[in-house]
């Protein structure tokens, strides 16, 4: 390979190769037909961020609808109950199926996982591209379902409402069905890659913890998603032919749908959070310049979270007429989830203890994650407790709880990972100053929006309701103001990240002093990731072998 020293490359760094994966081939067509995991990762990143934008706009509309109990803006009512139902359904469905589930594995994971393993690509590059196009088809169908008609079932599609209501529920469920296969193919690919394409010298316990997290996610994607697929097929057939499986008027059982749905969707929650945890396990040792504490404990806790996820779904049905025995068993099993989650939390904190911590943007996000996930996780325990659950079910407490996990956990980790690997992916540094300001805005806005919802929920404000009592008005308004701060933070992030593509200084190969293999390649990486096959010389997170370069 030809080398030239490009301006901006850091002294002491290898010269930048002229050819990299971004300019190896040119033109839109070369991107659309690429089999390169890095390009597919980038395309996925653009795609999921677009979905995040649409879902986010609906979130802002939901919050704006609830600004006051009269639903007025400048003295005029601007939204009715039906529109509001569509807002929150589309917010939920888009965020869950189009954004959070693929967000980390399919975009950042796609880019980083093969590099961390020291591989040239994933095991099945064509399947990888197909997964992306299935996502696109699913996205087009989901978005057109909101243009063609109304979907107002909530993202859970509970029967019998979903089988009897008018509107584009059929199209939306087909979209989710297709998105499910996109997710299965990603998981299948990553598991095969991890098994077969590790660098020479890399045993299972030499893999970065990010891989362990993505691997555990893959297991869930493969084992849980098919059940969602068949459930949605049944739902569609029930809608069209009325075959009497979910509709009690013709002999079906609506609770069966809930069991099926949560058998997938509870594990799906771990599809969302495990990759987030995986990112945090990378960021914390890197910015603490310290070997991760309890490597094996974190690795095993990822796997045990994946396995536990399959036996706790019944806690979504505590008030749906489940037997007392089932309730007690599911309650006890749900408490178990706290153990591996706690193991992770304490190991991360212990890693930071006496570390040489530097507070750059990715680390700020990681610390925000620790704070927010602790709240999200601990309020989960409230719901595992049967007596408390009955009071809190379907209140804003639930909404606050899962947003603390999904947004405070996964999205914050996603942002952290995006900032962490941005220099590697784009070859440019973003503005550290704006990064920190945006992170602070996101953190404050998030807590304003959802922290207040814990209070409302505790006082009995039901979720999904369009109308509410005047007494909740101040808290609702506060939550809406918070959503604006949060929106501003995210908007700012988009601006400075995009600006960095043009004006950012060129990034060194290893701006944070990371120890995993992806930092061995150039920024941005060459087409096949490494110029020579990397061989693992020390275990991950071994900082004794590394001198730290600060940018």
């Amino acid at each position: 390979m030809e080398h030239t020293l490009t301006t901006g490359s850091i002294t002491g760094d290898r010269p930048r190769p002229v050819k990299n994966y971004l300019n190896e081939t040119k033109g839109l067509w070369s991107w659309l037909t690429t089999l390169d995991h890095k390009r597919i990762g980038i395309m996925y990143l653009i795609a999921v961020c677009s979905a995040f934008l649409i879902g986010g706009i609906f979130a802002l509309l939901v919050r704006l609808s609830l600004l006051n109990p009269q639903h007025t803006l400048f003295g005029k009512q601007w939204v009715n109950a039906e529109m509001y139902n569509r807002f929150f359904t589309l917010h939920g469905a888009i965020m869950v199926f189009l954004f959070i589930i693929p967000a980390i594995p399919a975009s950042l994971g796609n880019f980083v996982l093969p590099m961390m393993l020291g591989a040239k690509d994933v095991a099945f590059p064509r399947l990888n591209l197909m997964s992306f196009y299935l996502w696109c088809i699913g996205a087009v169908m989901a978005v057109s379902s909101m243009i063609i008609g109304a979907v107002d079932t909530g993202w859970t599609f509970y029967t019998p409402y979903s089988t009897t209501t008018d509107g584009a529920v059929g199209l939306m469920t087909m979209a989710v069905f297709i998105l499910g296969f996109s997710s299965i193919f990603t998981g299948l690919n990553f598991i095969s890659t991890t098994h077969k394409l590790r660098a020479p010298g890399m045993g299972w316990f030499d893999m970065p913890l990010f891989i362990w997290g993505i691997y555990a996610t893959g297991v869930i994607q493969i084992l849980a998603t098919p059940v969602l697929a068949i459930t949605l097929v049944l739902l569609l057939i029930e809608r069209v032919f009325q075959i009497g499986i979910f509709d009690s008027r013709i002999g079906g059982d609506p609770v069966l749908f809930q069991h099926f749905f949560w058998f997938y969707s509870h594990p799906a929650v771990y599809i969302m959070i495990l990759p987030g945890m995986a990112i945090i396990s990378e960021i914390i040792p890197t910015f603490s310049r310290k070997t991760i504490f309890g490597y094996r404990a974190i690795a095993y806790s990822s796997v045990s979270l994946a396995l536990l996820s399959f036996i706790v779904w019944g806690h979504h049905l505590f008030v749906a007429g489940e037997s007392d025995l089932a309730n007690v068993v599911f309650s006890a099993l749900t408490f178990l989830v706290a153990i591996p989650s706690g193991v992770k939390m304490f190991n991360w904190l212990t890693t930071m203890y006496k570390g040489n911590i530097s507070f750059e943007t990715p680390m700020l996000y990681a610390m925000a994650f620790l704070f927010l996930f602790a709240i999200g996780g601990l309020t989960g325990i409230f719901f595992a407790t049967l007596a408390v659950d009955i009071h809190l079910t379907d209140t804003y407490f639930v909404v606050a709880h899962f947003h603390y996990v999904m947004m405070g956990g996964t999205v914050i980790a996603f942002l952290g990972g995006l900032h962490y690997w941005w220099p590697k992916m784009t070859g440019r540094m973003y503005s550290e100053k704006w990064g920190r300001i945006a992170c602070a805005l996101v953190f404050i806005g998030f807590n304003m929006t959802f922290g207040s919802q814990f209070i409302m929920g505790g006082q009995g404000m039901p979720r999904r309701y369009f109308n509410y009592l005047d007494q909740f008005q101040p808290i609702h308004a506060f939550s809406t103001y918070g959503s604006w701060v949060l929106g501003a933070g995210l908007f700012l992030t988009a601006i400075y990240l995009l600006a960095s593509l043009k004006t950012g200084p060129l990034a060194p190969d290893n701006p944070w002093g990371g120890t995993t293999l992806e930092w061995e390649s150039s920024s941005p990486p060459v087409f096949h990731n490494f110029e020579d096959q990397p061989v693992l010389e020390h275990e991950p997170y071994d900082y004794r072998h590394r001198t730290v370069t600060h940018v």
């Binding site: 077969k196 493969i222 084992l223 849980a224 098919p226 032919f241 009497g244 499986i245 013709i250």
Partner: protein
């Protein structure tokens, strides 16, 4: 090459896991409904043709055997023999589908149909939805299984043509091996479906 084969095989096993879970959902639903309508399910299953089901089980078992023989033949560089075994497998699958079509016709004539389409008369528990639910699951599960048989037939025919052309050898027989794996799963699912539907007591 060796590594590619191993990787593909892992991919196939993972795919088969998703298949098992897909059918697993339906099996669980069937079990739940059976506990809800135990009498109706016993009565409804009397309408199934046990002999046809048993015959089909044998046919599929034979087809699994011929699939194994096809793999063995490609691995020993016997292209013609491999093609023959693959066509035999397709043939067995064809017989299975014909018998299934015959059974379906019978159900349609008797009005033993899913959900609101159920038209059968003379059931012991008049007006119960249990009968229709039984046939909802019957058509759904055997239908989904039938689609898998059809997919298998297409794949096997494609492989038979390629085998005859000499595309495979002991160096490269990954597609044959993977499709055979798939075919064994299709067979296995039927082996569970048969007692589930035809042998309820």
């Amino acid at each position: 090459m060796e590594q590619q084969f191993d990787t593909s095989k892992i991919g196939m096993w993972l795919f088969l896991a998703t298949e098992v879970l897909t059918f697993g959902g339906l099996f669980a639903g069937f079990g739940l409904m059976q506990s809800k309508y135990p009498q109706e399910f016993v009565e409804a299953h009397e309408h199934l043709q046990r002999l046809a089901g048993a015959g089909n089980t044998v046919v599929l078992l034979v087809s699994s055997f011929t699939a194994v023989m096809a793999v063995l033949a490609v691995r020993t560089n016997q292209a013609k023999k491999a093609a023959m075994y693959l066509w035999l497998t397709v043939g067995c699958a064809g017989i299975f589908m014909c018998v299934k079509a015959y059974e379906y016709t019978h159900k349609f004539e008797e009005g033993l149909l899913p959900g609101i389409f159920y038209r059968h008369h003379g059931d012991l528990i008049a007006g119960s939805h249990g009968y229709a639910t039984f046939f909802s699951f019957y058509f759904m599960m055997t239908g989904l299984h039938g689609l898998h048989v059809l997919a298998g037939m297409v794949l096997m025919s494609w492989l038979a043509i390629r085998a005859r052309r000499g595309d495979f050898s002991d160096k490269y027989y990954t597609p044959v091996d993977l499709v055979a794996l798939f075919w064994h799963l299709v067979d296995l699912i039927w082996i569970y479906l048969f007692p589930l539907y035809y042998l309820i007591t």
